[in-house]
Amino acid sequence: MPDATGLELLAQDLRAAPGLGDDAVLGAVHFRGQATLEVRPSAVRAVLARLRGQGYGFLASVHGVDYWPQEPRLGVHYELLDMSALDRIRVKLRVSTDAPEVESVTADWPTANHQEREVYDMFGVVFTGHPDPRRILMPEDYEGHPQRRDFPVGGEPVLFTKDHDRDYTR
C-alpha cells in the first residue's frame, strides 16, 4: 500500500495528468494501511489507465456498494494490484441512483467483464460500452437490484413451476 504521503503524491500526479484536470480526484483516504482514491465517475477509465502506467497492472476486483442513506448512493470500487512493487490501491467512484452511468473499463481490463455485470445486476449501475450488458447472477427477467439497501430482505416467495399461478401476495 502506498503510505499517506505516497497516496497524496499519486493524487497530485493524477490531477496534473493531461486530460484529467483538478477535479479528477475528489479525495484520497488512507485507512488501516489501505489507500483509496475517490475519483470523478467520468474520469475512471483515464485514471485506471494512468495508474496502470504507474505499475498497477492487475485489476483484482470490481465491486459495488450502496451507501444508502448517503448521497450519491451507489459506489463502484476497483481494486488495483501492482505485482512487482507488491502494492495495492483502491479507486472508487460514487454515482446517484437517478443517473447511475459509468464508463465500462472492460476494453482495457477484460477481467472487469463479469464483475461489471455483477455490479449492474446487484446495484443497477449501467456500464456504458460494456460488450455484454446483461444480468449475470439473477434471472434475466428479474426486476430490481437486490443488493441495494432499500431492497427488502426475505419475503420473496420461492417459485416452482407446479404452482406458478398461485398468488403469493395474499
Binding site: F31, R32, Q34, A60, S61, H63, L137, M138, V153
Partner: protein
C-alpha cells in the same frame, strides 16, 4: 518388429523396442485437420449445444452454451447464477460474528479460506491483532483445507478423464482431513473454526498425534496419485499441450492461483504479501512452463506437498499463548469466567445479543485460496452489522478464462479443461 535380440540388455537410458516402434508412428498423418469445413459454405453449419446446468462434468450447477463446428468448439458462453443464494445480502442482516457461517458456505470446498478472508477484513477494520498461536492454528487448518480442496479437485478431474479409482483414493485421504477438522471444531464441513480475533478453540489433546500421523502418511499417498496419473499414457494424451493460455492473457483476465502459476508466473499471496505469519514458513511455489492442462495438474499436485511442509513447520513451531484475542470487546470470555466474573457475563451477553461494533470504514482483505486470490471487501457503517460484504471469488473471475482456453479445441478437451480450471459453483454464484 523388434530389433533387440532376446537375452541382450538395452543400454541404460536407451529406449525400449516398444517405445521405438511407438516413436516411429507419425500421428500427424492420421490426424484430421481441425478446419474440416474450410470450403463450401452451404454444407457448413454451426451447432449450438447446451451443456448443463445439471451435468456431472460441469462440477456444479454450471451451464455452458457451446457453439460447435463439427467437434471443434468455436465459442463458449458460461451461464451462471443457478446457485445464487444471496449470501452477501444475508450478511448485511447479521451481526459480524453471525455472518461467518454464511460466508463459509460460498466456496464450499474452501470454507476456512472464506472465513479467514472475512475475519481478516473485520480484524483490519477493528485494528485487532491475532495472537501468534491463533495465526499458526489458522495456517495449519488453512493448509489442511488446501490439501482437501485439491484432493476433491484431483478425484473429480480424474473421474472426468476416465480414471475412476483415483477418486476413491483421494476421498480416503480427504476423510482423514475431515476427521481432523471434526476433532478441532466439532464439525467436518463449514466448521466455523476461524473467528474474528483468532480461532474458536485450541486444538484438543490427541490432535497433534493424529495430524503427525497424517503428515507422515500423506507424502506417500501423493506419490501414489502421481504413480497412477503423472506418467499415465491416457492422461498425458488428454492433458499435455491441451488448451494452454499464456501468462499475459491470464493476467488481463484476472486469473490467479494455480492456473497463473502453471503459466510460469510465481504469484502467490502467501509469499508476495504474507498474512497470518506465512512469512515464518519455508516453502516453495511450484510453477509450470507451458501453461497447459498438464502443468495445471502438476502444479496442484506439488502444492499439496508444499502445504504439508507448511503444516509440519507450523506444528513444530506452534507458539504458546492465547488462541484468540484477549480483547473482551471482540472475543467471548472463556466459559469458566462466566461463573465468577460479573464483567465477563456482561461481555458475553453484549457479544451474543448485539455483537461487537466496528469502526466505520472500508477494507479489502485478500488471501491465497486453493483457486487464487480470494478477497473479502467489508464496509462498516459503525453498527454491529456489516453494511456490505463482497467476496472476490477466484472461481467467478477464473471462469472467464474458459472461453479463450478452449476456442479452437475439441469438445472432449473442454471437459478436461473445465476440470483443470477447478471452478466451484458455490463460489461463482455466492
Amino acid at each position: 518388429m523388434s530389433t533387440l535380440e532376446p537375452g541382450t540388455q538395452a543400454a541404460p537410458g536407451a529406449k525400449s523396442p516398444y517405445r521405438r516402434m511407438e516413436d516411429s508412428i507419425d500421428i500427424a498423418t492420421m490426424e484430421q485437420p481441425l478446419a474440416v469445413f474450410a470450403g463450401d459454405e452451404a454444407e457448413h453449419e454451426l451447432l449450438t449445444l447446451n451443456m448443463g446446468p445439471h451435468h456431472p462434468a460441469t462440477h456444479g450447477v454450471l451451464r455452458l452454451l457451446v457453439t460447435l463446428d463439427g467437434e471443434v468448439v468455436q465459442d463458449l458462453k458460461p451461464i451462471i447464477g443457478y446457485v445464487h443464494t444471496g449470501i452477501e445480502k444475508t450478511c448485511e442482516d447479521k451481526s459480524y460474528w453471525k455472518a461467518i457461517p454464511a460466508v463459509e458456505r460460498m466456496d464450499y470446498l474452501s470454507y476456512y479460506f472464506n472465513a479467514h478472508a472475512y475475519c481478516g477484513a473485520v480484524e483490519t477494520l477493528l485494528d485487532c491483532e491475532v495472537p501468534k498461536r491463533g495465526q499458526y492454528l489458522r495456517v495449519i487448518h488453512l493448509e489442511l483445507n488446501r490439501i482437501k480442496s485439491h484432493l476433491v479437485w484431483l478425484g473429480t478431474s480424474a473421474l472426468d478423464l476416465g480414471a475412476m479409482s483415483v477418486w476413491w483414493y483421494c476421498f480416503r485421504e480427504r476423510e482423514k482431513i475431515l476427521d481432523l477438522f471434526e476433532m478441532s471444531s466439532g464439525a467436518r464441513m463449514h466448521t466455523r473454526y476461524i473467528q474474528v480475533g483468532g480461532v474458536i478453540e485450541d486444538i484438543p489433546a490427541g490432535f497433534e498425534a493424529k495430524l503427525r500421523g497424517f503428515l507422515a502418511d500423506m507424502p506417500n499417498r501423493i506419490d501414489q496419485y502421481g504413480d497412477l496419473l503423472t506418467r499415465n499414457e491416457i492422461l498425458l494424451n488428454r492433458l499435455r499441450n491441451v488448451c494452454p493460455l499464456d501468462e499475459q492473457t491470464l493476467l488481463s483476465l484476472g486469473v490467479t492461483g494455480p492456473l497463473l502459476r502453471a503459466a510460469g508466473n510465481p504469484w502467490d499471496l502467501r509469499k508476495a504479501m504474507p498474512y497470518s505469519s506465512y512469512e515464518d514458513f519455508d516453502f516453495k511455489i511450484p510453477v509450470g512452463t507451458v501453461g497447459d492442462n498438464y502443468d495445471r495438474y502438476v502444479v496442484r499436485l506439488q502444492e499439496m506437498r508444499e502445504s504439508l511442509k507448511i503444516i509440519e513447520q507450523a506444528l513444530d513451531g506452534l507458539p504458546e499463548g492465547p488462541h484468540i484475542t484477549t480483547d473482551r470487546k471482540i472475543a467471548l470470555p472463556p466459559r469458566h469466567e462466566l461463573a465468577t466474573s460479573m464483567e465477563a457475563l456482561i461481555h458475553h451477553f453484549k457479544l451474543v445479543t448485539e455483537g461487537f461494533r466496528v469502526p466505520p470504514g472500508e477494507v479489502y482483505y485478500p488471501v491465497e485460496s486453493p483457486r487464487g486470490e480470494l478477497g473479502c471487501f467489508v464496509r462498516s457503517d459503525g453498527s454491529s452489522k456489516p453494511a456490505r460484504v463482497h467476496m472476490r471469488d477466484p472461481s467467478f473471475v477464473n471462469l472467464q478464462a474458459i472461453a479463450p482456453m478452449v476456442q479452437g479445441n475439441y469438445i472432449a478437451d473442454l471437459i478436461a479443461t473445465l476440470a483443470m480450471l477447478d471452478p466451484v459453483l458455490g463460489g461463482v454464484d455466492r
